[in-house]
Subunit: 116 residues, 2 copies
């Protein structure tokens, strides 16, 4: 098990995968906001780009004062400096994945990084 | 829309998000293997750690000749050099997210990179 590690994420409120999977290039969290709830603070980042994927439910993000509706299948990239806050809708849960990576850290990828 | 970008991923076979979202720290793909199908090649990477999330269905990965069963909710980190191939089960689709990041590229994260 040196070259890979697996975990199963059940319906917890929040799972942080960096330490569970020994990640070295990202932190990834799996999050659930109950209906009517929000992340209780606005935040930005120093170095990290964030990518959010909506995996269930409905809600919204406010990013630099602009409201963005969120539904299952939506993916958003947010620049480090943008001020962001996430909200579940009044009557639906919002489940989402958040991926943190260092901005501009990716070099080659897919066919240019692969060995087949 | 300078500080963020949103796309909606529907049930396509494969969506690659790097160019759609102007990602700079990751490539992310959303993939569907039909029942009985597999990725038609074994591959490894030069620099990139890969993280896979199973979002629907059932299947398996073979990683350095070790078979790993896959079900919804499973997350796997795979080191660049590991040889990997993915398979849907005979009678179920396998839908998964693949996140490519440069190994060892993450510095601080979460509270140590956030500004609140």
């Amino acid at each position: 098990m040196n070259n890979f590690k697996k975990v199963t994420v059940t319906d917890e409120t929040r799972a942080e995968l960096h330490d569970l999977l020994n990640l070295t290039g990202a932190e990834i969290s799996v999050n659930t906001l109950p209906a009517g709830a929000s992340v209780p603070f606005i935040h930005s980042h120093k170095k990290n780009e964030e990518i959010y994927a909506i995996i269930e439910g409905e809600g919204a993000a406010v990013i630099d004062s602009e409201k963005v509706s969120l539904n299952k299948g939506d993916w958003i990239r947010i620049s480090p400096s943008a001020k962001r806050q996430f909200f579940a809708s009044a009557d639906k849960v919002l489940k989402y994945i958040c991926i943190q990576v260092k901005e501009n850290s990716l070099e080659d990828y897919t066919v240019n990084d692969a060995v087949i």
